[in-house]
């Protein structure tokens, strides 16, 4: 019996060793590794019969006589991506940060300028996405936009009056008490108040932030929860009626529940751009630029856009009839949500759509501490603390009494 166990163990070791050899050195030495760091679920990855973009890129390189292997890893937030890069412990070739994070990374000299002759497809990017506030110098381009999107209100038409849904005020509407979902990150949650009260979202004024906190505290009893990805399930199965999230994600929720509707609040909203950048320390800048260019190819762009439902700044994709037809199959007015007029007008209309900009450290800290104050503060929790405290006290007194009694017995 023991011999068998040892035999099995040896086999496992050998097999694992072999796997490791395969995964670490796939034989030929001229293989180039490209480390790509993107948001989770933000690329067409070959699931559900879609195109596997990274595999396509490897194939494309092979045709050019290069042996490239894409190491594709994912992050969940700009901040965790930033920390990982800033620690200096890892090196990536292509990363996908959002606007304000790009601004910060350029300021901290963490990004390489791109050689646009290697990225000919840059010409297909709409002009309004070129030289944005976070990367303003057309002579030194650091980022190529990948997707953009904006926040809006998603509501269930079975329970919510459409006329309530055109304003951020719906998140404070007592009619929907207990059925409202709020963002579970400080920037977006404070953003909902700031847009509602027409306060600049990038303000440094402490009093204004405190004012917003009061609003959020007032909202807390009405809110079912502070959530991110749970929004999908809660909205789809109707356990919540009102939520704020991104337009692209509304379309993927709508696929499963056609009672849902989307509105852009009249007071204005937040737009964001996620762009492709090459961080300092990249090992194969040319291949990385090739990868960025490849992402702007029409077929690849369409595959990614129909996978994520986010809006593309790429003219080739956005104006492609096949793509539009595919999106219209998801929702009859899909393109209105994907490429709304206020963005087509180059943000010039009366409608206010603003970016979150990089806050200074002091404001950032203030926001985080206010957010914690909101999350910790609450009447419902006090009861739990009291019960726990009483139980702990009871156990301690019980133990002390026991110990004292035992000691007495000894004497």
């Amino acid at each position: 019996m023991k011999k068998i166990i040892f035999a099995v163990l040896t086999c496992v070791t050998i097999i694992c060793g072999a796997c490791l050899m395969v995964s670490c050195n796939p034989g030929n030495g001229d293989e180039i590794e490209l480390n790509v760091y993107n948001w989770g679920e933000y690329i067409s990855d070959g699931s559900e019969g879609t195109l596997d973009v990274n595999a396509e890129f490897e194939k494309y390189c092979e045709e050019k006589g290069m042996n490239v292997k894409v190491n594709y890893t994912t992050f969940d937030s700009n901040e965790s991506m930033y920390n990982k890069l800033k620690s200096g412990a890892v090196s990536y070739d292509v990363i996908f940060p959002s606007d304000y994070m790009i601004e910060r990374m350029i300021k901290e000299d963490m990004l390489e300028t791109l050689n646009l002759t290697n990225i000919p497809n840059y010409q297909y990017i709409y002009d309004r996405f070129k030289s944005p506030f976070y990367d303003p110098d057309p002579a030194n381009v650091y980022s190529i936009p990948y997707f953009y999107g904006y926040v809006g209100i998603i509501y269930n038409t079975e329970y919510v009056d459409a006329q309530d849904a055109d304003s951020w005020g719906i998140l404070w509407n007592e009619k929907y008490s207990g059925k409202i979902l709020q963002f579970n990150n400080p920037r977006d949650a404070f953003g909902t108040v700031q847009y509602k009260n027409k306060i600049d979202v990038n303000t440094n004024d402490e009093a204004k932030w405190r004012e917003c906190l009061e609003e959020l505290k007032a909202q807390k009893p009405l809110v079912q929860g502070y959530v991110m990805d749970e929004i999908f399930n809660k909205m789809k199965n109707g356990s919540a009626y009102v939520a704020t999230y991104y337009a692209g994600d509304f379309l993927s929720m709508y696929e499963d529940n056609d009672k849902l509707a989307f509105s852009t609040p009249k007071e204005g909203t937040n737009i964001f751009v996620d762009a492709m950048c090459i961080p300092k320390g990249c090992k194969n800048k040319e291949i990385a630029e090739m990868y960025i260019n490849f992402m702007l190819e029409k077929d690849i762009g369409i595959a990614n856009s129909t996978f994520t439902y986010y809006s593309t700044p790429n003219r080739l994709v956005n104006e492609d009839p096949e793509y539009i037809a595919a999106m219209n199959e998801v929702h009859e007015n899909a393109m209105e949500y994907i490429a709304p007029d206020f963005i087509k007008d180059e943000y010039e209309g009366e409608y206010v759509a603003t970016f979150y900009k990089n806050l200074d450290d002091q404001t950032l800290q203030l926001m985080n501490s206010l957010w914690e104050e909101l999350k910790i503060n609450g009447d419902s929790k006090i009861g739990i603390y009291i019960v726990c405290g009483v139980i702990a006290a009871a156990i301690i007194t019980f133990v002390v009494i026991k110990v004292v009694k035992n000691k007495r017995k000894l004497y």
């Binding site: 163990l9 496992v12 670490c24 989770g40 679920e41 070959g46 969940d76 890892v90 399930n233």
Partner: protein, 272 residues
């Protein structure tokens, strides 16, 4: 009283197993939604084996868990044997508490300190990339060690001290005595330790998060990065498969234990 205890037992098992059953149920759901069950299908299982990213992550997780478990078992067993042989009980106690530190420490402290160490050492020896599969392996082995030591030590204490002495008497070298006699006596402890190390490494997130490099992703990391968008149901399918595998493993070990016990009983009866 009996019905009361039965109700209590049902309640406990219910709380333990209902979440898993729900997960299994929804892994067979035909739509993405977790709110309503729209129909039975194997879609997500097929999906699981066709999505390359999930598959790589699964392979990485298994490789990492197997390797760190094996290395931790070897080092841990050696450490346990050494600790057991210590004469001075104060030194013994202090060594034990030092080895237990990685277990007592919150994961986040272990993770961050490991990362700082790797960055520091990496910059000292001039690597271009400090974190990789190897740093993750070191980190996982480190936090697995105390569990192996803790499961091997009691077996060593239970073992008859005169067993290795007898082996030495009969002409074994100390090393031979260990491999021919001692290791057989403590094998159950070693196996338990290894299984524990394997499962711990399998589902570790926090330490992996801080020590993972740019080209090696494990499943927990992959699932976490999905949380801004939606966790796809092929993860439910994957979790179901892992659960079934563990269930089979547990059943097999327990059944083997029972068989062994039966055999022992029989032998004792025959001898009497």
């Amino acid at each position: 009283m009996k019905t009361l205890s039965r109700i209590f037992m049902i309640l406990v098992f219910g709380i333990l197993y209902i979440p898993m059953l729900v997960l299994v149920l929804y892994s067979f759901n035909s739509s993405k939604s977790t709110g309503n069950f729209t129909g039975f299908s194997f879609k997500w299982y097929i999906e699981l084996f066709s999505a390359p990213q999930t598959f790589t992550a699964l392979r990485n997780t298994l490789i990492l868990a197997a390797f760190s478990a094996i290395i931790a078992t070897i080092i841990g067993t050696m450490a346990a044997v050494g600790i057991n042989k210590m004469k001075n009980k104060y030194i013994k106690a202090s060594v034990m508490s030092v080895t237990n530190v990685p277990m007592m420490n919150p994961d986040i402290v272990t993770g961050i300190s490991m990362m700082l160490l790797f960055v520091f050492v990496g910059s000292l020896i001039g690597l271009s990339e400090y974190l990789s599969f190897w740093t993750m392996l070191i980190a996982h082995t480190t936090f697995n060690l105390p569990y192996v030591i803790l499961s091997v030590l009691p077996k060593l204490r239970q073992m008859d001290k005169h067993l290795p002495e007898a082996a030495l008497d009969l002409g074994c070298t100390p090393l031979q005595a260990f491999f021919k006699v001692e290791i057989h006596a403590i094998l159950p402890g070693i196996i338990t330790g290894m299984m524990m190390a394997f499962t711990l490494s399998l589902d570790d997130f926090v330490i992996s998060f801080f020590t993972s490099g740019s080209d090696f992703v494990t499943l927990p990391l992959l699932i976490y990065s999905m949380t801004k968008k939606e966790v796809t149901p092929d993860m439910y399918a994957l979790s179901t498969l892992v659960m079934v595998a563990i269930l089979i493993l547990m059943l097999a070990t327990n059944l083997r234990g029972e068989k062994h016990r039966d055999k022992l009983k029989k032998r004792i009866k025959e001898n009497v």
